[in-house]
């Protein structure tokens, strides 16, 4: 069933930000903003239940999943889970969802029929990503503080063991064909490759700085990991698990996904509010699509091809249609941020430690850098 006609008009192309910024050109025709859906606080990950035409978005700061009706593109409810949910995977066979609760150090198990949490499984600290192994009836969970991948039996819901990975183990993805699991180690700048038959690491690959989410594209026989502090994607050969190239994308990529036809790879660029569109044929960035503030993970609706992008800053999900026609001959030069060359607008903001207001005039006639950050 097709979604209703767009309620939100296509926005005017926005001015690019910073030295590494949007690719100018016919960006207005590169995408269509189908909808902007308000969700809970701090949306991070998302998964789609095609059968029920539902999307579930992990809202880290309101400790819940927002449920979206994919036909009406509206939020229709929420499911409370553990503290700070960041990622979710769906087990259609067993009718369950598995949600990792980063600061709860748990995995919440949800019954898809009732929409209720049926069990909570304790795992090592800072679980930030989950992946289903349907053939083995297992759920894997990357646990940063444990530097390990927790293995959960998806039938009995027992924690079976913890496979050692690297420092800051987080984003994971399963290559079911080759029976390997990939785990991005955020604080080690590496990816651990695990043999899922033996449940043992077989190789550690060096990637870019602060690797986050991972995704697999069987069409290109590649795994992809976004390097959030290198503004890039590392591509890994699935047949011979080695890093074969690094692909430049937007600033601060933390989310990655693949189009329904596997011809494109998408990266959610948290530092600039865009999604990079990378061609699977040439592994070059074709365009960037503006979305909400501080985008994170996202899901792709196979029925419509729409991207559902979780915007952790604006507490929304952008539903976007990718209309990029193909690669460009060359990229246009970067456009400077509109603030460059102008006086900084004055600020008066409370000091975290003293609670007194700090004014920009305190830094008059001094050089300084404003470093905007969030704790997530």
């Amino acid at each position: 069933m097709k979604p209703p006609p767009p309620e939100t008009p296509t926005p005017e192309p926005e001015i690019a930000e910073g030295a590494a910024c949007l690719i100018p050109g016919d960006r207005g025709s590169d995408y269509r903003l189908v909808a902007e859906i308000p969700v809970g606080l701090g949306p991070e990950g998302a998964v789609i239940d095609e059968e029920r035409r539902r999307a579930y978005v992990t809202c880290s700061r309101s400790h819940e999943l927002t449920v979206i009706d994919l036909d009406t593109l509206t939020a229709i409810g929420s499911i409370g889970v553990g503290r700070e949910p960041t990622d979710v995977t769906l087990d259609a066979t067993r009718g369950r969802m598995f949600v990792c609760d980063l600061r709860g150090s748990t995995v919440s198990v949800i019954d898809l029929t009732t929409g209720e949490v049926v069990q909570t499984v304790g795992v090592p600290g800072y679980p930030s990503s989950v992946a289903l192994d349907p053939a083995r009836g297992l759920v894997y969970c990357g646990c940063a503080a444990g530097s390990s991948v927790a293995v959960i039996d998806s039938d009995t819901l027992e924690l079976l063991e913890n496979i050692p990975a690297g420092f800051g183990a987080g984003g994971i993805i399963l290559d079911g064909e080759r029976q390997r699991l990939y785990c991005a180690n955020f604080l080690a700048d590496t990816v651990t490759v695990i043999d899922t038959r033996e449940r043992k690491p077989i190789i550690t690959l060096e990637v870019g700085h602060a690797p986050c989410a991972m995704m697999i594209n069987y069409r290109t026989r590649s795994a992809y990991v976004v390097n959030s502090a290198s503004d890039s994607i590392s591509r890994i050969d699935l047949d011979d698990p080695l890093v074969v190239e690094e692909i430049a994308v937007g600033r601060g990529p933390v989310g990655v996904n693949v189009s329904a036809d596997e011809r494109r790879i998408y990266a959610g660029n948290r530092a600039e509010g865009t999604v990079s569109v990378v061609g699977a044929s040439d592994h070059r960035e074709w365009s960037r699509i503006p979305v909400g503030e501080a985008p994170a993970g996202f899901a792709v609706d196979a029925a419509t091809g729409y991207l559902l992008v979780s915007n952790a800053g604006s507490n929304t999900v952008s539903v976007v249609e990718d209309l990029v026609s193909g690669p460009r001959a060359e990229l246009a030069p970067a456009v400077p941020h509109p603030l460059v060359g102008k006086p900084l607008p004055p600020f008066a903001l409370p000091d975290l430690r003293t609670e007194s207001l700090r004014h920009s005039r305190e830094w008059a006639e001094r050089k300084y850098i404003l470093h905007f950050f969030a704790s997530w």
Binding site: G18, A19, L187, H209, W376
Partner: protein, 112 residues
């Protein structure tokens, strides 16, 4: 990363002010926990409603705004350490010659 650069930059009179935003709830506590975890000791201000960030056209984090001594914005962006160091060195050239700046710390204390 940002703390090691802040310490070095302060020696040359270049300040780095951290601006926390988009916490959703309990901003002060979240920011305080984060600063403790990553040993951030410099000035931190709270833009809890993100009103100031939006006025500047900030659409994501981390984003850095580089301001010269005349109060003029020199650049915006620089999310990687290399880009941050390059832009900071444009603002304060003595940083470029400081070999210790590259020594970034990326281990939060509660993981150790």
């Amino acid at each position: 990363m940002i703390e090691s650069l802040r310490r070095r930059a302060s020696r040359f009179g270049l300040d780095i002010i951290l601006v926390d935003l988009w916490e959703g709830t309990g901003a002060a506590q979240e920011a305080a926990d984060y600063c403790l975890r990553w040993s951030l000791e410099g000035v931190v201000v709270l833009d809890e409603t993100a009103e100031y960030a939006r006025a500047l056209g900030i659409r994501g984090v981390p984003t850095n705004v580089f301001v010269d001594e005349s109060g003029i914005v020199q650049s915006v962006g620089a999310s990687t350490f290399e880009a941050l160091l390059a832009e900071a060195s444009r603002l304060e050239p003595r940083l470029a010659d400081d070999a210790d700046v590259a020594g970034a710390e990326r281990k939060p204390s509660d993981f150790e």
